[in-house]
């Protein structure tokens, strides 16, 4: 008889019922998913990024499909923190799953202030810091500067007892250095990765396709890149990793777990397969049972890479 595997996941202070999460910006405020998702099957819901003030977002077109991928420049269109707390949190906290708020600020003070507000609300399991959005200009790009990234985490931790996840941008030369810095700063986990910067060109019109010119690439096209980021960080930094990038089926989930992710987030796939995240946990459960694995943690980071291939201090391509 197949054993019943333990699907619980511990991301330091954050314990989740299973490792299948849904990614910020790809699940709305959960309400929109009611018809499609079984929330109790999802390890955690991460609503769209919230900023201190309302943001109108970028001019359309905001998305364009590329080969097996999606380029987006939504620009953090949201109604601001007060509205999030008033309009969305009351609904979110009733969901039969953990809710992790995802926040972004222009400077460290804004991150701190938002963390204080959220700390005093009820119903959140943790906070994910979006220090990685490629679509907003004007702010400091925390995610590309290890010291600043660590500073944000440290100051946020000073304002809240909630577990803190730092979501990193892959648009850096050395993501390991940033992961190391935020681990030192006190992050409970890192989410790897946000989108890869790209553009789409309409050569006939001699114009960029996106209203914002540049955007962030997501979807199956980026899966090998995201896997690589997870693997590099897993090899060198002692911090739980939430893998995200192009996951669209159970094999993808297992690849991320084996490469070193303790949990994963489903992003772009929600747009065309809104029931996917709810199904995956059952599929994972069945698969681990067949493998005879006691706990999902037993397969995390089990990649047998040749020592020569493991990244040294410098990143290789």
């Amino acid at each position: 008889m197949a054993r019943v595997p333990d699907l619980n996941v511990d991301l330091n202070r954050l314990r989740l019922a299973n490792p299948i999460l849904v990614a910020s910006g790809t699940f709305g405020y959960a309400r929109e998913m009611e018809a499609f998702a079984r929330f109790e099957n999802i390890g955690a819901v991460i609503p769209k990024t919230v900023t201190p003030q309302p943001r109108i977002g970028n001019p359309p077109p905001r998305t364009v499909e590329t080969t097996s991928g999606l380029l987006n420049s939504i620009g953090l269109d949201n109604d601001g923190l007060d509205s999030f707390v008033e309009k969305h949190l009351p609904y979110l906290k009733e969901l039969p799953t953990a809710v992790i708020a995802n926040i972004a600020g222009h400077d460290v003070d804004e991150f701190e202030a938002m963390a204080s507000v959220l700390d005093s609300t009820e119903g959140l399991a943790g906070i994910e810091l979006n220090i990685s959005c490629p679509n907003v200009s004007g702010g400091v790009d925390f995610g590309t500067n290890p010291q600043l990234a660590a500073e944000v985490v440290k100051r946020v931790r000073g304002r809240t007892s909630l577990p803190v996840i730092a979501k990193l941008t892959p648009n850096v030369t050395d993501i390991v250095a940033v992961a190391m810095a935020v681990a030192d700063g006190g992050a409970d986990a890192v989410s790897l990765v946000n989108t890869y910067q790209g553009i789409a060109v309409d050569w006939r019109k001699r114009k960029p396709v996106l209203g914002n010119v540049t955007g962030g690439l997501s979807g199956p096209a980026i899966k090998p890149l995201a896997l690589c980021a997870v693997w590099k960080v897993a090899c060198q930094v002692d911090i739980p990793i939430v893998g995200v990038g192009g996951i669209s089926c159970l094999d993808d989930v297992l690849e991320f777990l084996v490469a070193g992710a303790s949990a994963v987030q489903i992003g772009t796939a929600n747009f065309y397969d809104p029931g996917l995240a709810s199904r995956l946990v059952d599929e994972l459960d069945g698969c681990l049972g067949e493998l005879g694995v006691d706990s999902v943690g037993d397969i995390v980071g089990t990649l047998e890479s040749a020592p020569a291939a493991a990244p040294a201090g410098k990143t290789t391509t």
């Binding site: 309400r31 929109e32 018809a35 499609f36 109108i56 077109p61 499909e65 987006n72 199956p220 747009f271």
Partner: protein
């Protein structure tokens, strides 16, 4: 629709679901234009005119996302029970050029019903102004307005005494005119314009609308769907005559049900400002005066 527009969190899709649907038939309607019939009873039972659904090829990742298509009409079996939907499409890009090869028996993913749809047909003289493939939502509108069919679950009320109904339909040329036979029905007057004069009025579809305002009975409500410049011109004419006008937008969409925030359009606010709103859940049908073109 109006209830949804007033809700503080408008545009949820409690009735929608994702299903596998079987292709029943594919018919050529006009140049580069086809009609696909999919078997999906649940969707067919719920959808109302002006709503849409997303269609996607199964399995692969290129094309990756679903594509939005408006309901052309529902398909009923001999007992009158809804079993499927028809939609018309023009070949313009990646998915639509592959759809041409879909055969009866092939299965595809479909999710809906999505969006708000047109309001139930008003009394009086309803004029529908269509440009190109923008004609597709109007077959179901026509059949509902004429009391030939009911849509929705529970079924929406249809007028007991149908008013006057006119379709103004503009196309590039005669070979692009699609579904004229479908629209040939008692109670609907069809007026056609083509850019090259190969059929009907030689000129703009808005010329046809202007003519209608010189005749009797005058239009009392206008529904429009097609290229945005055309709809903007229609909205202007409607405003000049103080005639209520609803426009159905064809904003590109990535999800169709409100989670990606890619399908935004500019909506006028009471204070004179505007804000982006999601077309897929707050539209695709808007009162024309709400739109900041």
């Amino acid at each position: 629709m109006d209830a949804a527009a007033q809700s503080p969190l408008p545009g949820l899709v409690p009735a929608a679901s994702q299903q596998t649907a079987c292709v029943i038939e594919q018919v050529r309607m006009a140049r580069d234009t086809y009609r696909l019939r999919l078997e999906c009873p649940e969707l067919a039972r719920q959808i109302v005119p002006g709503q849409f659904f997303m269609v996607r090829e199964q399995g692969g990742s290129d094309p990756l996302l679903g594509r939005p298509f408006a309901l052309y009409d529902i398909v009923n079996n001999d007992d009158g029970d809804p079993i499927g939907v028809d939609f018309g499409y023009v070949v313009v890009g990646k998915l639509t050029s592959r759809m041409v090869d879909w055969q009866p028996g092939d299965t595809v993913d479909i999710w809906g019903p999505l969006g708000n749809g047109f309001p139930a047909p008003p009394d009086g003289h309803l004029v529908m102004v269509a440009g190109g493939i923008g004609q597709t939502p109007f077959l179901a509108v026509t059949r509902e307005a004429l009391g030939q069919r009911q849509y929705g679950d529970p079924p929406r009320d249809t007028p007991t005494r149908p008013g006057t109904l006119t379709l103004c339909y503009g196309a590039r040329s005669e070979e692009y005119l699609a579904g004229i036979d479908d629209f040939t029905t008692d109670g609907l007057q069809v007026r056609v314009s083509t850019d090259d004069g190969s059929h009907g009025h030689h000129g703009l579809v808005t010329d046809l609308l202007k003519d209608l305002f010189r005749e009797s009975p005058e239009p009392t409500a206008i529904y429009t769907c097609g290229p945005e410049p055309m709809m903007e011109a229609v909205a202007e004419i409607a405003a000049e005559h103080n005639t209520p006008c609803w426009a159905s937008l064809e904003t590109p969409m990535a999800c169709g049900f409100g989670i990606c925030f890619s399908c935004v359009t500019r909506i006028r606010l009471d204070d004179g400002q505007w804000d982006y709103r999601r077309t897929c859940v707050e539209g695709p049908v808007f009162r024309a005066e709400q739109l900041q073109w």
